[in-house]
């Protein structure tokens, strides 16, 4: 009863505390400290304080108008109108504290929509700049696709297993991420184990991608992919070693370190690739810097240099720069973004500038201008996801997203 009264008194004073002077009025009451003789149990694990069965969904609809030129600007611009509906749903079941099953599925309408259109809407407008990270790939060939289905099981509160179909992302890069050496885990059935020991975190991964197997009904253990990672976490730096091997694909080894100097994160990754198809070793590397800025506007800036050895050619080098503002409340939740990727190997590149506006929590309006340059057949010209192969385009997108979650 006493604590309730204390809380009410505090709340009323706090509501009135609008300046430093009124803050001092909080201390005009007698000392309200309380002595707790028997403290309660720890805060409950947030995953336990929830219904056993949860189901959730997200309905997203996006429309876009795009116009632009494939090559010379004296031609008529190629103009397109795109729209699609994306329904995503799933279940989240935790029958016992140690086990949790999560499954997500999705479908796109219209079904004939090419996945490159969707990725271009995301890349060309604003999303790739806003997140500056991997946009999960989408599949439109199936009526209903199973995105993820996995079971988490914790043994003795120290060892965690995850088994099923799930996405695993490693690596530090924001614009390029060569450290993500296990991208294939989005397909097939995988098994992951995790254990922590002092400052070390150790992860083991067995990848059962069906594409690996010569006989899909009788896969061999030697055909599985195997990956492992050891991270050393400290307050001053993080260091890690990771490795991936699969008999058909080859092997990748990654050593990484990340630290913060005067408010800027610096990270470096050294990679070594063995490509089975080329029977040779190729080095690769990533150097990057990331800084949270407060001036001229609050935002994040990224710079990266990448030696791409994954194709067997370590002369393939790129630089990337990115800047994204935080949502500027005084400008009604506007967000500005710019990203520049440039290949030092063949001179091609892409610049994406964009602005997004969030008039309501469920709605996002974006204006993006992607410009792709370079010779025909160069890296970024080949990688241009615009379905009309526009080199310079303007995308106007409207995105509406509604989510729900219910539990029993």
């Amino acid at each position: 009863m006493k604590s309730v009264l204390v809380g009410l008194v505090l709340a009323s004073f706090i509501a009135a505390a609008t300046s430093a002077d009124s803050l001092d009025n909080l201390f005009n009451q007698a000392n309200q400290d309380t002595i707790v003789k028997t403290p309660g149990p720890p805060v409950e694990n947030p995953t336990l304080d929830r219904p056993v069965f949860l189901y959730f969904g997200n309905l997203q609809t996006q429309g876009a108008f795009a116009t632009g030129w494939e090559s010379a600007m004296d031609q008529s611009p190629a103009t397109s109108l795109y729209y699609y509906l994306h329904l995503k749903g799933g279940i989240d079941v935790q029958p016992i504290p140690q086990a949790r099953l999560i499954g997500t599925f999705s479908t796109y309408l219209p079904q004939e929509l090419d996945s490159s259109v969707i990725s271009n809407l995301q890349d060309g407008s604003t999303q790739s700049v806003s997140t500056i990270s991997t946009v999960p790939s989408v599949t439109t060939s199936n009526v209903l696709s199973l995105d993820e289905l996995f079971l988490d099981y914790t043994v003795a509160d120290s060892l965690v297993f995850r088994v099923g179909k799930f996405v695993q992302t490693w690596g530090y890069g924001h614009l390029f991420n060569p450290g993500n050496i296990v991208t294939t885990t989005s397909e097939g059935v995988n098994l992951k184990g995790f254990v922590t020991s002092g400052p070390f975190e150790i992860t083991g991964l067995v990848i059962g991608d069906s594409e690996f197997f010569s006989n899909k009904t009788h896969p061999l253990a030697s055909e599985l992919g195997y990956a492992g990672q050891i991270n050393f976490l400290s307050g001053f730096f993080t260091a890690g070693l990771s490795a991936y091997e699969q008999i058909k694909e080859g092997a990748t080894y990654d050593a990484s370190i990340k630290t913060n100097v005067l408010g800027t994160d610096f990270y470096a990754e050294g990679l070594e690739y063995y490509l089975t198809s080329l029977q040779s070793w190729t080095p690769g590397a990533l150097l990057g810097a990331y800084r949270v800025l407060q001036w001229p506007v609050p935002g994040k800036a990224i710079a990266e240099y990448w030696i791409n050895g994954s194709s067997g050619n370590s002369a393939d080098r790129s630089i990337g720069l990115g800047f994204v503002t935080d949502k500027i409340a005084s400008l009604q939740d506007f967000q500005f973004k710019v990203k520049w990727l440039h290949s030092l190997y063949d001179g091609s590149g892409q610049v994406v500038t964009g602005v997004s506006f969030t008039p309501f929590p469920e709605m996002d309006i974006g204006l993006g201008v992607p410009w792709t340059y370079g010779d025909n057949g160069s890296t970024y010209i080949l990688g241009n996801t615009d379905p009309e192969s526009r080199r310079l385009a303007v995308f106007l997108t409207v995105n509406i997203s509604l989510s729900f979650e219910k539990g029993k």
Binding site: I14, L23, F27, N28, T34, G90, D157, G235, G263, D265
Partner: protein
């Protein structure tokens, strides 16, 4: 008298240097400890929880003069012996399960959508509020500051000592801090300044829960001195109310302070 031969002389020199080095290593912590201000050490002792883990539920209500009120709640799991903590969002429901792991100066954030971690420095603010991640740290005032001025002042009903602190390193979020401290070594009011002397935040802690030798604030009210709005000729500061409930000091599993724990919570 026998003079040392050349190899013996070298060996003796090595021993002398080794002994001096060992003495330096052994005395540096004692010397450094003796340089620390006793008042700051006493404040740290009440607000730092060694020998056990700390957990509590925090509710953060942000009141912005021009945008109304927003709130969130989170669970804090802290292990001061290893300078680490984990924050997990409980509300709003749309962000439930998102969390961060902090070890020293580094902060790991997990993004369930892309299934990846980002590591960054820990001077960021929490969910667009004026609460900083450093506000959840163990108190290390004695390590990070020196007292440059000391006086007595009444703060409402409280008799306090006012300590003006100057940072001794550039890792801290605020280079200058003023504290109002009661005789039980509890900070009741705090002002944070920039390097240029600009007042940035004023915080008040009107009441504590005392659990044995340890103390946990019941509520913290933070005024943002730079942002707000003038209403009817009066400047109303943006402010944040942090209430702390369910404080507990039981040992937690090592897994709680790991990336896998955050990954497990996300969907």
């Amino acid at each position: 008298m026998r003079y040392a031969t050349k190899p013996e002389w070298r060996h003796q020199l090595k021993c002398i240097w080794g002994g001096l080095l060992a003495l330096m290593v052994l005395t540096i912590p004692v010397w450094a400890e003796s340089k620390k201000d006793p008042d700051l050490l006493a404040i740290d002792a009440t607000a730092t929880y060694h020998g056990t883990d700390f957990s509590a539920e925090y509710t953060v209500v942000q009141k912005k003069a021009d945008q109304g009120e927003s709130s969130l709640s989170l669970a804090l799991f802290r292990r001061d012996d290893q300078d680490k903590y984990v924050l997990v969002l409980l509300k709003p429901d749309s962000d439930r399960g998102k969390g961060v792991l902090r070890i020293g100066e580094s902060l790991w954030k997990y993004f369930p959508d892309s299934r990846r971690f980002e590591v960054t420095s820990a001077k960021d603010q929490l969910q667009n509020s004026n609460v900083r991640f450093s506000d959840f740290d163990a108190s290390t005032l004695a390590d990070d500051y020196e007292v440059i001025d000391r006086s007595k002042a009444d703060l409402g009903q409280f008799k306090t000592t006012v300590l003006t602190l100057k940072a001794t390193n550039d890792h801290v979020t605020f280079p200058k801090v003023v504290l109002w401290v009661t005789s039980d070594h509890l900070v009741r009011k705090r002002q944070d300044f920039s390097l240029s002397g600009q007042l940035l935040r004023t915080s008040a802690i009107p009441a504590y829960s005392k659990i044995g030798p340890r103390a946990v604030p019941k509520a913290i009210i933070i005024l943002d001195e730079l942002s707000g709005k003038t209403v009817n000729g009066r400047f109303i500061n943006d402010r944040t109310l942090v209430t702390i409930s369910k404080p507990a000091f039981e040992r937690l599993s090592d897994l709680t302070f790991s990336q896998a724990y955050l990954e497990k919570l996300g969907r």
